[in-house]
């Protein structure tokens, strides 16, 4: 079943076409990575799909609801973990999680259950009462992703979730993301080729606002005749793509 379907989705910033006639279909439970160099249109695509930005042309459907016509219904089904850690700095870990439950309309009992469950799942028991601003970068990112997941989204957007993290923190987050595979639909943007290759079911490569190639990492390597996925990416992103 289709989780996300875009139809000629286009975004202009004045004369600049940030996303150009994007046609894409992502299945439920799939982990789909969007790759591209800076300015390729990855983050704009996520902003369009998460109703943070209005499409200039075209439309997209999240589990059947239009991002143009049914924004509130779309917002009930999605969650976003932005590039920078999105936490309330003066609130503790537990308060941040409760806060997100509250703004999603959970009642008191459900909030308590979800907070306890999430703290356990993300191994945050020791820091549950610590203010978010006093956590390390890795823990803040972990909390940020936990906040994105606690609202029980059907579709999760992870915009460069491991940016700036050390190797250990990155690998820990990979494990968390791998555990989610198949349960919810995840759209991931990243600059780390290894991350995309390791986590994704399929990968889409964007260049100058266009989706220039799509497939599994092995398919993309095979199509370009490259030795590694990084070489395949450079070949595709650097030359404007190959036939999908």
């Amino acid at each position: 079943m289709t989780a996300i379907k875009t139809e000629k989705l286009t975004k202009y910033y004045k004369d600049l076409c940030a996303v150009d006639s994007l046609d894409l279909e992502i299945k439920q439970g799939e982990l789909f990575s969007l790759l591209g160099v800076n300015g390729a249109g990855k983050t704009t695509t996520i902003k369009l799909l998460s109703c943070l930005s209005k499409a200039s042309k075209g439309d997209a459907f999240i589990l059947g609801d239009s991002i143009r016509k049914n924004q509130l219904k779309v917002k009930e089904k999605i969650s976003v973990s932005p590039q920078e850690t999105a936490v309330a700095p003066n609130l503790s870990v537990k308060e941040n999680l409760s806060f997100i439950c509250g703004v999603n309309g959970f009642d008191k009992q459900k909030t308590k259950d979800k907070v306890d469950e999430t703290i356990k799942k993300f191994n945050m028991n020791e820091i549950r009462n610590k203010a978010a601003k006093k956590l390390s970068g890795g823990w803040q990112r972990r909390l940020s992703i936990a906040m994105a997941l606690i609202s029980e989204p059907h579709v999760l957007f992870l915009d460069e979730p491991t940016l700036g993290l050390d190797v250990l923190a990155r690998r820990e987050l990979w494990t968390l993301i791998k555990d989610l595979k198949g349960k919810i639909t995840i759209i991931l943007t990243t600059h780390y080729m290894e991350e995309a290759e390791s986590l994704s079911d399929r990968i889409g490569i964007m260049s100058k606002g266009e989706l220039v190639s799509i497939g599994t990492s092995k398919e993309l390597i095979r199509k370009t005749g490259a030795k590694t996925f990084e070489d395949a990416f450079i070949s595709i992103a650097g030359h404007g793509g190959i036939a999908a």
Partner: protein, 243 residues
């Protein structure tokens, strides 16, 4: 539930910022103490506690423009807001949630100001309750100004506009530090065309128990508060739908 959750978060953000507490509660009290001592040494009718207390309360409210403006301006530029904009919160959830925590805080500040005034010699009367009620539109006015500036400016600009300009501007034109009629001319005309003077006057009448004269001064404040609340809501909604 959504409004409760967001306003609870806003309350915690405000109360856990010690500078907010220090300025919001402490600074007006210091000014009240200072001017009371001036009054003891150099008696001036307008620095009598009966006249001064309503002015200090309105002056204290001006800091809430700074706090609410800073909170919104910082929120707007944070990734947390991006997360909240993708949640099922509507514009009215945001706006109400910003007002809710500040109104009780403003009333608490006004109550503390009155308690200090009582310690300094102001007679305790039931009219103090009247003063509190009459002060609410002024509190709403300053909050709406803060929400408006926080919506259109960044946090540094809010610091300048609300922290420096508005606090001074509203104080000078409020008839608290000096009588605007003594300045006369255009200054008095401007002061009386704006709500700050009327907010203090309405408070003075309420504290004196002269409720028949609370209006029309209070109408001025209610009018401006309604106008700026409507503008703040309109601009916040348009910003939320931007792009």
């Amino acid at each position: 539930m959504k409004i409760l959750a967001f306003s609870l978060r806003n309350t915690k953000e405000i109360l856990r910022d010690k500078i907010n507490i220090m300025f919001g509660l402490g600074f007006p009290i210091i000014i009240l103490l200072l001017l009371s001592f001036v009054q003891k040494n150099v008696p001036a009718p307008m620095f009598q506690l009966q006249q001064l207390t309503p002015g200090i309360i309105v002056f204290g409210f001006s800091f809430f423009s700074l706090f609410s403006g800073m909170l919104i301006a910082k929120d707007r530029t944070s990734s947390l807001f991006m997360r909240l904009f993708t949640s099922p919160l509507k514009a009215y959830h945001f706006i109400i949630s910003y007002y809710i925590p500040f109104i009780p805080l403003a009333l608490l500040q006004a109550t503390i100001t009155m308690l200090v005034a009582i310690l300094l010699g102001l007679s305790f009367t039931v009219n103090m309750l009247g003063l509190l009620v009459v002060s609410i539109p002024a509190a709403v006015l300053f909050l709406s100004l803060g929400i408006l500036f926080g919506t259109i400016l960044n946090d540094k600009q809010v610091g300048g506009v609300c922290g420096a300009l508005l606090t001074n501007f509203s104080a000078w034109l409020s008839d608290t530090w000096f009588e605007v009629d003594l300045a006369g001319g255009a200054f008095a005309a401007i002061a009386k065309a704006l709500p700050f003077y009327h907010a203090v006057e309405a408070g003075r009448f309420a504290l004196a128990g002269d409720y028949t004269n609370v209006f029309p001064d209070l109408w001025w404040v209610i009018g401006y508060a309604t106008l700026f609340t409507a503008i703040a809501i309109m601009i916040f909604r348009s910003k939320m739908n931007y792009n």
